[in-house]
Symmetry: C2
Subunit: 202 residues, 2 copies
């Protein structure tokens, strides 16, 4: 996963990708996404329109890629590293709690993404698509903890979906509450509340 690994060709590809997505994030942070044209990104990244569309489906996916570089990989890796004794829900909660430092560090990115998402439906769209990608990736990573039953992985996707929902709402709340608040506290509160709300109906 090193940025310098692989052949020269591969490295250049990766470099072009990150250069373009970073340019997109910069420009969007400066002007807002409406005012950023694909040509602007191309100019700053030093590539042509054709190249841009060979790397990204759309302006929005370029921006979202720039904001989320490698975050999913980190989450999946952290989940796989949890003790095998933990059940699915506990492992997922532990994963996000252990990564709350990353959240805190990337507050700027997360905040920018939230702002732009509210501003432009197309970005909202891409973010949602990525949300589903997270759900599937986490569900897959839960395989050893919840092997295929009669329902073929339904339970895995359900826990992943529920925890992601809690994480999404907790992150939103954390961003709204200002820099003073802590993400791990929000996560913990959300997880506990989720359990209480469902059990309460017992």
């Amino acid at each position: 996963m090193d940025a310098d690994s692989g052949s020269l060709r591969r490295r250049k590809k990766r470099r072009t990708f990150t250069t373009a997505s970073r340019a997109a994030v910069e420009l969007v942070a400066e002007r807002g996404i409406q005012a950023v044209k694909v040509d602007d990104i191309c100019e700053r990244a030093g590539i042509s329109r054709s190249t841009f569309f060979r790397y990204f489906d759309s302006k929005e996916s370029c921006f979202v890629a720039g904001v989320n570089q490698g975050r999913l990989d980190a989450v999946v890796a952290a989940l796989k590293a949890r003790p095998a004794s933990e059940d699915a829900f506990t492992a997922l909660c532990g994963t996000f709690l252990s990564l709350s430092g990353d959240w805190r560090r990337q507050r700027g990115f997360l905040h920018l993404e939230a702002r732009i998402r509210a501003e432009d439906p197309a970005v909202q769209a891409h973010a949602s698509a990525q949300y589903l990608a997270w759900e599937n990736a986490l569900a897959d990573a839960l395989h050893p903890r919840l092997p295929d039953g009669a329902d073929g992985g339904f339970a895995r996707r359900l826990v992943a979906g529920i925890v992601l929902c809690a994480v999404r709402l907790a992150t939103e709340q954390w961003l709204k509450d200002g820099v003073g608040s802590s993400p791990e506290e929000k996560f913990a509160h959300a997880f506990a509340e989720a359990r209480a709300l469902l059990v309460g109906g017992g």
Copy 2:
């Protein structure tokens, strides 16, 4: 809410809206969304491009509107009609179980939407946006059952999000399993499983 109520002007507006969105659904069902141009919808609905874009933000929103006409209203109404004694989670589960007949009846629409969503990211986008609208509307309707606490409605959105996640996955599974399967069974299974997965982590 009657289609014939209001002034003539209002009635015509409503009629234009439904005519266009139905035309969109028909055309998409026939050819797939990529092959349907805005001009095609305009032609079938008997309106001009300008009029179309005065009613809809995009081709996708027109289609999604046609597929979902009034479904959210029905869900919110059903939730509000649940006995006041039920807690939030129970009431939400009961709501969807009681509406499973609607699901069964609208299988064609739901299936079409799922197919097109997989086919076109922009549709996926609009559907996701509508998903968030559902989450917020249901959370609001939960107000009497979960009054504002210290966290200002966080719990309401969390239950709504969790149940919607279960409903989404259950619906998906139901559509995949063919016409023989029953939506209420899938819902019930998903709700029970959700509770078991979270409680299990005791």
